[in-house]
């Protein structure tokens, strides 16, 4: 089976600073993969590289198609939705407008009605807030909006950058529960997370990134029992 996403010898640069030093991994179709790592390990940069927001060398293939020479807008068209660090909300626009924009890069046009129903099904609070400026939402609601907006693309791969950041534990649990449901509808998820316990629970496969390199990988059940991981990332 060909991989959904295949990354080989990926190096990324901010100006002259190298942030990734040859990251290689591949992701199976239909799964949830998580990238763990400390601050500055290169997790966000890996996602930004896939979305073509940072200069890179190495190869990036999505369903066999090379991404390296594509612009961010074209990557979106392939069905890769990216909910970025800081959520990327259009704070001046209403919730509904944010969601409409989420469908902008979609290849198949047509009615958004079903998509609205679907995301409001996942996040009922967004239906209540649909005419409100997105900037007036709580942090948790904004994160829900970020995920919902990404889903409007009808993506095949969802890139999520720290969806738990700054949110109350109950809200986080709710969002992660919905992420699992979303995955069960056939959307593959690549999750970057600092909260290792949560990420290991959700994901089926894990990559551990340290200073721009993959230092360990495996199924999450296996890595959860690894002593080094336990001590460094789970804290017990």
């Amino acid at each position: 089976m060909s991989a959904l996403l295949d990354v080989q010898a990926l190096e990324a640069f901010y100006g002259r600073t190298k942030a990734l030093h040859g990251v290689s991994f591949s992701m199976a179709r239909g799964g949830i993969t998580t990238i763990l790592g400390a601050n500055g390990a290169g997790k966000t940069t890996t996602l930004r590289a896939i979305s073509r927001m940072v200069r890179t060398t190495g190869t990036l293939r999505f369903e066999g198609e090379a991404l390296e020479r594509k612009a961010t807008e074209d990557v979106v068209q392939l069905g890769i939705a990216h909910a970025p660090e800081g959520r990327g909300t259009f704070v001046h626009l209403t919730v509904e407008e944010n969601l409409r924009l989420g469908a902008w890069g979609r290849r198949e046009r047509g009615s958004l009605k079903d998509d609205f129903e679907r995301v409001f099904g996942y996040f009922p609070v967004l239906r209540e807030r649909r005419r409100q400026a997105a900037g007036t939402l709580s942090g948790g609601e904004q994160q829900m909006l970020a995920v919902a907006r990404a889903l409007m693309l009808r993506p095949r791969l969802l890139l999520l950058d720290e969806p738990s950041l700054g949110l109350a534990p109950l809200v986080v649990r709710e969002i992660f529960r919905i992420l699992r449901t979303i995955n069960q509808t056939g959307v593959s998820i690549l999750l970057v997370e600092q909260n290792a316990a949560l990420a290991l629970d959700l994901a089926d496969h894990v990559f551990l990134l340290e200073t721009g390199r993959v230092v360990m990988e495996g199924p999450s059940d296996v890595l959860r029992r690894d002593d080094a991981i336990r001590r460094a990332y789970l804290g017990y």
Binding site: H82, L101, R149
Partner: protein, 293 residues
């Protein structure tokens, strides 16, 4: 009292012109943080194109609409060819480029059409409207209608169409816009196109009053700056209202404050800019943009 009302209506008419040009300035400012100093000159150039079309035998409104189309394409092309290469340059560089554009437009217009003033037709009837003792110029009333119609169209476009929404998104948050697949560069180009259209409307409406010459928009641009500053460079609605306010104030001050008359009217606009910047730098409806650095 009659004179007062007449002066207000006449002020609203010129105010509409300032409003159109101010809106053009604000649109580009919001999308790129750059004030396009060439906006007025582009409008002047478009007006010359309209004049040429009319003299080639086109009927007024046909020439008007053709000019809008040409202005739109011209705006898009200028953004793509002239502004795009300096997109990521420091703001001052871009400002210099727009100043360069200003000089180039002005000189080319002078070279092509000479600096001799040309009469420019008004599409509205000659005879003024009379309501009792109050007399309104037909051109004034027509001008107000055209401005309001343009403003209404642009409001509907930005508020209710997907493309308008995408343009707003691209202006406010280019990074997130790219992540949802919006081609931000093209949205900026469309913004330049639309701004050129507003400018062209302003130019064609003001030319019958001022007569057409390469320096047609110099003064208007200063008033438009005053309008945008007053309403707030971050608020399109504010800039439009600012335009009308500046137009009315300019007229009333010229009429009622003896020593100002017509000669010092211009100073009023500059004084307004300074007062607004001193008292409320964001303008009446502007918001302070907080940027994380």
């Amino acid at each position: 009292m009659d004179i007062f009302i007449q002066q207000v209506v006449s002020g609203l008419a010129t105010g509409g012109i300032y409003a159109s040009l101010a809106l053009a300035l604000v649109m580009i400012y919001q999308a790129t943080d750059v004030v396009n100093f060439a906006q007025g000159e582009l409008a002047m150039f478009a007006t010359y194109i309209c004049w040429t079309l009319i003299h080639a035998g086109l009927q007024y409104w046909a020439a008007f609409v053709s000019t809008l189309a040409i202005a739109f394409v011209g705006g898009v092309v200028i953004e793509r060819v002239v502004i795009r290469p300096v997109e990521n340059a420091p703001i001052l560089s871009i400002v210099m480029v727009t100043l360069g554009l200003l000089v180039i437009c002005n000189s080319i217009a002078g070279w092509m059409w000479t600096y001799v003033q040309k009469p420019f037709p008004s599409p509205f009837p000659e005879n003024p409207f009379k309501f009792g003792n109050i007399v309104f110029g037909a051109h004034d009333l027509g001008e107000i209608q055209v401005t309001l119609l343009v403003l209404l169209c642009i409001y509907l476009f930005f508020r209710f169409t997907p493309l308008g929404l995408a343009m707003r998104a691209a202006a406010h948050n280019p990074v997130s816009s790219r992540l949802v697949g919006i081609r931000v560069g093209w949205m900026l180009a469309l913004g330049w196109g639309l701004a050129a259209v507003f400018g062209a409307v302003a130019g064609m409406m003001v030319a019958p009053v001022l007569t057409l010459e390469p320096n047609l928009m110099g003064g208007v641009q200063i008033y438009a700056f005053a309008a945008a500053t007053l309403g707030g460079f971050t608020s399109p609605g504010g800039a439009v209202l600012g335009g009308f306010i500046v137009g009315v104030v300019e007229n009333l001050v010229g009429t009622y404050v003896g020593f100002i008359g017509t000669e010092l009217k211009f100073t009023v606009a500059l004084a307004m800019i300074i007062v607004v910047l001193l008292v409320k730098p964001t303008g009446l409806f502007g918001t302070t943009v907080v940027k994380r650095v």
